[in-house]
């Protein structure tokens, strides 16, 4: 399938993978980045895109999304999720396996990969289950899952409670060079908690999950990774003690990567006040001190990967008593604006570090194509307008779900164009092009 | 009243001074005894709030003139009003206190300060029916200002006054207001 070359002209290119921050043009040909430089030659039939005043970065990658298909199509489908990703500036996402049925076989992995290709929007990489049925008992056929397209394994949605099983996964997965991702939560300590354990939970009369429920599990994962030499990817870290443990493990050479989510960077358990189910997620929003630690870890690279944990739920599932409502919020279509507004424009984080956390490192951690604009790499590109002002309005989401605590937030900066394989899949002006 | 409301010009005219009220109450006391053909089985019940003080004064006159003790009590009709839906609840509810003998088979004299729409009298009668079965109820008011909304008429009246709908007739008693009087208040709203 040959397509017209595309010349992104007049933009500021920020690509930390090659230490680049300069006004240069980018030429995309045959799905690859063919040339970067000034006054580039323009092959016949090239589509020229005026990028003056915008920033061109390697396509953003979200390694932690729930696309709900199969089994939860009323919340999201692979196609709607991929389009929501594109609208959020993402060129690729990694789909978690906690669907119904669970993605624990080569056939189901193949289904997700095929449905992603068919959507023709952001790339969709399947993540396979770590254990059969995510039951935490026996390993899946990891080799075959990887062959079918899985880029990682995890039992996300629930933790791997059996430390012996985690050891086996971290050992066995090494042959296939994929990360083992884990949702850190000691179920014995978190019990039937529905929010952070603290003053707010005590007042609201809601059962709490203490920090320690996450901390002991993170420590366990780090120690087992150290034991095995495997690559552990700790998902959605929310506690200060957990972050400190990861920082120390990294310092002593443990192969660990770790996620920060926009909500744990920006919100605390105060957001639950009034029993707001759009602030119910797992791990829960925690204290000020934890939120500050997540920020610190995200800035210093302890939490090296920005991930949204995009978790769509149908509105009437969230329109329930707090105990009954499911965990999770959508994140794909708000994260770029949130981070630009609250971390980059405030001067806490420079733009290049943001791109490192949202593109370069996710690609590296999950061994995905992209995360760079070096010549010869895939032509996955995100174009950002750092100054466009907008207000979060869930009714405009391309996602099938609207469950966000950020409704009405005024933001500055966001994506304006998303390009996958040299083809524009979304622009702000036209909405979805797929 | 808050400061930002338009200034109201209030005009007060005294309709009855202390002597006039005292004279009228004494006359009403005698009229009650006359209508009842004596003091047998009489119970005096004042409607909270000013009706209670008036009832006490009538009781004092009656006991002095007749030389017998007359049982009395107070009725609070708050929970029997028909305007909860329009004015909302009143947080202060007084207690209804009835004489120990009760009101069954007695002649109950209900005493109030001003008779206007008739709704208070209606509420008072409903409440009395919940307390027991009087053989007879007399309704007795110091001032009848007209303007009835229900077909209710007093049996014994101190003074009849023709007041306009936007005028207020106030009965003042020493226990509550520091003086004994009946006043007519005319309020004219004016721009300052």
């Amino acid at each position: 399938m040959s397509q017209r070359p595309m010349l992104l002209k007049g933009g500021r290119v920020v690509d930390p993978s090659q230490g680049l921050d300069d006004h240069v043009d980018v030429l995309l040909t045959e799905g690859k980045v063919s040339k970067i430089g000034t006054a580039l030659p323009r092959p016949e039939g090239t589509e020229e895109v005026d990028c003056a005043g915008t920033v061109i970065v390697p396509g953003l990658i979200d390694v932690h999304v729930h696309l709900r298909e199969p089994g939860g199509e009323h919340k999201e489908t692979i196609a709607t999720g991929a389009r929501a990703a594109a609208a959020g500036g993402f060129t690729a996402v990694c789909a978690m396996p906690n669907t119904d049925p669970v993605i624990d076989s080569p056939a189901t992995v193949g289904f997700v990969a095929a449905a992603g290709r068919e959507a023709g929007s952001a790339r969709v990489y399947p993540v396979g289950a770590l254990s059969i049925g995510q039951k935490g008992e026996r390993l899946t056929e990891i080799g075959e899952l990887v062959e079918a397209g899985a880029v990682a394994i995890t039992d996300d949605g629930r933790p791997v409670m059996d430390s012996g099983l985690m050891r086996l996964a971290l050992e066995y997965a090494q042959a296939f060079d994929i990360p083992v991702a884990d949702h850190p939560e000691d179920l014995g300590l978190s019990r039937n908690g529905v929010m952070n354990e603290g003053v707010v939970s005590a007042r609201l009369g809601l059962a709490g999950k203490p920090n320690a429920s996450e901390d002991v599990h993170i420590l366990r994962d780090l120690l087992v990774a150290e034991l095995t030499g495997g690559h552990i990817h700790i998902q959605h870290v929310s506690t200060r003690q957990g972050i400190e443990a990861i920082r120390q493990a990294k310092a002593r050479g443990v192969r660990v990567t770790a996620e920060a989510t926009p909500h744990h960077l920006l919100l605390t358990d105060e957001a639950v006040e009034g029993y707001r189910t759009d602030a119910k997620m797992n791990p829960p929003l925690r204290s000020d001190a934890d939120r500050d630690a997540v920020r610190e870890g995200f800035l210093d690279g302890t939490l090296d990967t920005l991930a949204t944990d995009h978790a769509p739920h149908h509105y009437d599932e969230k329109e329930q008593a707090f105990d009954d409502a499911p965990f999770g919020i959508v994140g794909l279509e708000t994260v770029v604006g949130l981070i630009l507004t609250h971390l980059v424009h405030t001067g806490e984080m420079d733009l290049s570090t943001f791109v490192e956390r949202a593109s370069v490192q996710p690609a590296r951690a999950f061994r995905l194509p992209g995360g760079t604009l070096v010549e010869g790499g895939v032509a996955d590109v995100t174009v950002l307008d750092l100054d466009r002002e907008w207000t979060v309005d869930p009714s405009l989401f391309l996602s099938r779900s609207r469950n966000t605590p950020f409704t009405g937030w005024d933001l500055r900066g966001g994506p304006v164009r998303t390009v996958v394989g040299g083809r524009t899949i979304w622009t702000l002006a036209e909405g979805s092009r797929s | 009243m808050s400061d930002d409301e338009p200034a109201t010009l209030e005009q007060r005219v005294t309709l009855m001074d202390p002597e006039a009220v005292t004279r009228v109450l004494a006359r009403m006391s005698r009229e009650i005894v006359e209508r009842n053909e004596g003091t047998a089985d009489l119970v005096l019940l004042g409607i909270r709030r000013r009706g209670v003080e008036l009832a006490e004064r009538i009781q004092a006159v009656m006991e002095a003139e007749e030389g017998v003790a007359i049982p009395s009590g107070a009725l609070d009709i708050t929970l029997y009003r028909d305007d909860l839906g329009t004015v909302g609840p009143r947080p202060v509810i007084g207690e209804s206190t009835l004489p120990l003998e009760g009101i069954d088979d007695r002649t109950v004299v209900v005493i109030d300060d001003v008779l206007y729409t008739g709704r208070t009298a209606r509420a008072a009668m409903n409440e009395l029916m919940d307390w027991g079965r009087p053989s007879r109820i007399f309704f007795c008011v110091l001032v009848d200002r007209g303007g009835r909304e229900l077909p209710i008429q007093p049996d014994i009246v101190g003074r009849v006054v023709s007041a306009l709908p936007d005028q207020v007739v106030e009965v003042l008693v020493p226990e509550e207001d520091g003086r004994l009087a009946v006043e007519l208040i005319t309020r004219a709203t004016e721009t300052p």
Binding site: E197, G198, V199, S201, A202, R203, L204, G205, L206, A207, G208, P210, G274, Y275, D316, E319, Q320, A321, F322, D323, D324 | M1, I47, D76, T78, L79, Y80, R81, D83, L84, G85, T86, V87, G88, P89, R90, P91, V92, I93, G94, E95, S96, D112, D113, V114, L115, Y116, T117, G118, R119, T120, A121, N126, E127, D130, W131, G132, P165, D166, V168
Partner: protein
């Protein structure tokens, strides 16, 4: 009349939301309602024509009956919906239940629900008045109000008086409502129970924490002894009922060591021989049955104060000039 048309607002969800004045208004209003229950005809027509739904999504006999008496003594029409056999148990969501109630044009809902926040959830979605009769581990405002009324009857002004709530504070809506109510009325509040049943961060509420019942008894003017839910045993929060009684049970022997007479309250139903010994429950310092009597009066006061019309209609009525 210059008092506000609605002294309480639309709903009663919890005491945390009320001011000290609002709490005092409810307690003062309850006083005359006590007398109605002493009458031969125990009924006043103040809520005649109002429809009240008692929506009980969790088993409760005591609270429901107390509300029902209160409603009937105010002449309201009442309908009881309980979880057994109702559409709620057949998977209907709370929001659908709310919409259906609304469609039937009711005036008030009294809701008991196992989920914290359920009363508020309902209150935010329907125009009827909503009274919280206990939501999960959150609040049980009318229980605390009747406790406050009983305490006030016996101790007078609660400012500076010391009241200790004893037992499972972690899961108790009664404890939370009592803590807020007592603090707002100026009382000093203690909590006493095994650490497994005290919420982390309870000190931040502004309460004294006692690990031993002996210390609480020495400190307090009154003890409000909570029922130990037998489920807590299964949850492993306490090792055994025998042990609980031995360590936290309120007994005459323990009360005799107190420097003053300690008033004994219990929201019921009691586990005699577990959290409270029979000679304490039936003893001279116990006001447990007075709580039950006060419960009806307090609920009458709450229903009465929540009822009534819109402020606009009230304004119009005032202009028209109401009177005898």
């Amino acid at each position: 009349m210059s008092e506000p048309a609605r002294p309480l607002g639309k709903d009663l969800v919890g005491l945390e939301d009320l001011s000290a004045d609002q709490i005092r208004t409810i307690l003062d209003t309850a006083e005359p309602f006590k007398e109605i229950s002493e009458r031969r005809i125990k009924k006043v027509p103040v809520l005649r024509g109002q429809t009240i739904v008692n929506l009980f999504m969790e088993p409760s006999t005591r609270t429901r009956i107390s509300f029902e008496f209160a409603e009937k003594r105010l002449s309201a029409d009442t309908v009881n919906i309980s979880s057994t056999g109702s559409s709620v148990q057949k998977g209907e969501t709370l929001v659908d239940t709310a919409r259906n109630l609304e469609a039937m044009k009711i005036d008030m809902v009294v809701i008991r629900h196992w989920a914290s926040g359920a009363a508020r959830f309902l209150a935010e979605r329907i125009p009827s008045n909503v009274v919280n009769a206990g939501d999960g581990s959150h609040e049980h405002p009318t229980q605390a109000l009747l406790d406050l009324l009983t305490l006030r009857d016996h101790l007078g002004d609660l400012a500076g008086r010391r009241v200790c709530v004893v037992g499972d504070i972690l899961h108790s809506r009664v404890a939370r409502s009592n803590i807020w109510g007592l603090l707002k009325l100026g009382a000093e509040v203690g909590v006493c129970g095994p650490r497994t049943l005290l919420p982390r961060g309870i000190e931040s509420f502004g309460v004294e924490v006692f690990n031993r019942i002996e210390e609480a008894i020495e400190w307090a003017d009154a003890l409000n002894i909570l029922r130990l839910q037998l489920e807590r045993m299964k949850g492993g929060f306490v090792p055994s009922l025998r042990e609980y009684n031995r360590v936290y049970g309120v007994s005459t022997a323990r009360l005799e060591k107190a420097p003053r007479d300690v008033l004994i309250l219990h929201p019921g139903p009691m586990n005699r021989g577990v959290e409270i010994d029979s000679d304490v429950a039936d003893g001279p310092q116990s006001v447990i049955l007075k709580q039950v009597t006060n419960g009806v009066a307090v609920r009458m006061a709450v229903l009465y104060l929540l009822a009534g019309g819109s402020p606009e209609r009230a304004e119009a009525a005032k202009r028209r000039g109401m009177g005898g």
